[in-house]
Every structure is written in structure tokens, then in C-alpha cells.
């Protein structure tokens, strides 16, 4: 995996992340399209994600939760707004209550994933735009429980693994 570029825009609260994979576009599309595969990479180690509902089509609803080592289950939702297989996926996303349903549908971030063939295989561009700093902080919290410190340990693992 090569991280080609990453661009953060403080003014618009957005992050653009570009990576390339040595696999065909159809195969990389499957890591998004198949919820069982998605569960294998969405959450960090020790914080597995479970997608209970996964309607992979425009207008489709998604419900998921993470399971923390402490046993808590932070919950989230997506509303899939565009599916253009195998090149483009768009969704709104936000936080859910204990019943799994959205706390506030208006309080959504927007994600756009594009896949395109390149010589090396597939280029994946993800753009996420947040509505507020609080939303960004909570998203970072759900994606990376132990924060930067743990992340740095994992980068070291990856480097020594190669």
C-alpha cells in the first residue's frame, strides 16, 4: 500500500486521503461493498466494527457499532447517497443512540470514495467533510480509541512487518 497524498483543509474541515493498492478496481470495490469484509478493516485492532444493516444502494441505510475492550458499543449510521460500481460511493454518516438509530440526521458528515485504475492497480481517494469540530473529534474517537500513541505503535509494526 502506498499513501500517495493526504490533504487536510482546516478551513473547510475536510480531509482528502489518497492510497494505491496492488489489486484490480473490482476487488478493492468489494472491501466496501461486502459488509463482512468492511468489518475486517473499519475498526482498529481490539475495536471491531459490526455492520448490522447494510443496504448497499442509493438511499440505503447502514447501521453499525464498534465494540470497545471495555464492552461499550458506540453506534453509528450511514445513509448511502450514491453507488456507482465500481468507481464511486458516497454517503452521509453520523452518530446513533443506544437503539442504533440516528441521533440527528442533520448532524452528518459526508464521505466520497472514488476508485480508479492506475498502473500499480487501484487508486482510492476518500474525501470526508465534517460539519463541526465536535463531530470530527467524536469520529476520531470512534476510529482510534487510544489516540495517536497506539497509532504510532501500529505504524512501527507495519514497518517492521515489511
Amino acid at each position: 500500500m502506498t499513501v500517495i497524498s493526504s490533504h487536510k483543509d482546516v478551513g473547510t474541515l475536510s480531509l482528502t486521503f489518497v492510497a494505491e493498492f496492488a489489486a484490480p478496481v473490482d476487488r478493492v470495490w468489494q472491501v466496501w461493498a461486502d459488509p463482512r469484509t468492511l468489518e475486517r478493516w473499519w475498526g482498529p485492532p481490539g475495536y471491531p466494527a459490526t455492520f448490522e444493516r447494510y443496504e448497499f444502494q442509493p438511499g440505503g441505510e447502514v447501521r453499525y457499532h464498534m465494540t470497545t475492550p471495555e464492552g461499550t458499543k458506540p453506534r453509528g449510521w450511514w445513509l448511502i447517497t450514491a453507488v456507482d460500481e465500481p468507481g464511486r460511493l458516497e454517503f452521509d454518516a453520523g452518530f446513533s443512540g443506544d437503539d442504533g438509530e440516528p441521533l440527528d440526521r442533520a448532524d452528518a458528515m459526508h464521505g466520497v470514495v472514488t476508485l480508479e485504475p492506475v498502473a500499480a492497480g487501484t487508486r482510492m481517494t476518500t474525501v470526508f467533510r465534517f460539519r463541526s469540530a465536535e463531530q470530527l473529534e467524536r469520529s476520531a474517537g470512534m476510529g482510534m480509541a487510544e489516540g495517536v500513541r497506539e497509532a504510532m505503535g501500529q505504524i512501527d509494526d507495519l514497518l517492521t512487518g515489511d
Binding site: F21, V28, A133, L158
Partner: protein, 107 residues
């Protein structure tokens, strides 16, 4: 320093305020100097500066009859750090995707 990140993002959501910030980060400028740089009233520029000040992105000091506006680099770093954390999440996710794709190949 406690930074109210929502105020920071609100302050940065405006192009004029971002521009003001980029000017005063390099060197302090008086409100009247800033006002001359934009096609808007002195009061309007003063209002933008006030929003930046509430977000602790700039501070004002008095120099004689002038108010000098100076950028607060630390506050910007804090915002930038939040986005860095989110970027790190995506680096890790991409690494996990890569492993899944490699396992496929071996299977």
C-alpha cells in the same frame, strides 16, 4: 490554553477571516492597516477580527493609538492536530485493506 474548537472552525469558515489570519501570522498588523486591504468598512473588518479573537486565533495589543492584531500559532496547531488524528485513522485503515487484499492473493 483551552481552545474552543467549534469557535475556531467557525472563525476559519470565512475566506476573509482566513486571509486576515494569514496576514497577521506573518507579522502583526493594525486594524486600520487590515481595513485598507479589504473592500469593506472598517467596522466590518473589526467584526471579523473580533470573531478571530473570540476563537483565540489572534490577539490584540495596543501600540499608541493603534490596535495591533497578531496571529496565535498554537491555536491553529490544535485544529491541525485533530485532522492529523483523522488522517492517521485512514492510514491504518488503508494498511488493513492492503493486508486483506494480500491474504486474498495467497488464498
Amino acid at each position: 490554553m483551552v481552545v474552543d474548537t467549534d469557535r475556531v472552525f467557525h472563525a476559519l469558515a470565512d475566506a476573509t477571516r482566513r486571509d486576515i489570519l494569514s496576514r497577521v501570522i506573518r507579522s502583526g498588523q493594525s486594524v486600520s492597516e487590515l481595513a485598507r486591504a479589504y473592500p469593506m468598512s472598517f467596522a466590518a473588518v473589526q467584526k471579523h477580527v473580533a470573531v478571530l479573537e473570540q476563537a483565540a486565533l489572534v490577539s490584540k495589543t495596543r501600540r499608541g493609538r493603534e490596535q495591533i492584531v497578531t496571529g496565535e500559532v498554537e491555536a491553529l496547531r490544535r485544529v491541525s492536530l485533530l485532522l492529523d488524528e483523522y488522517e492517521e485513522i485512514w492510514r491504518q485503515r488503508a494498511a488493513r485493506i492492503e493486508r486483506i487484499l494480500q491474504e486474498d492473493e495467497q488464498a
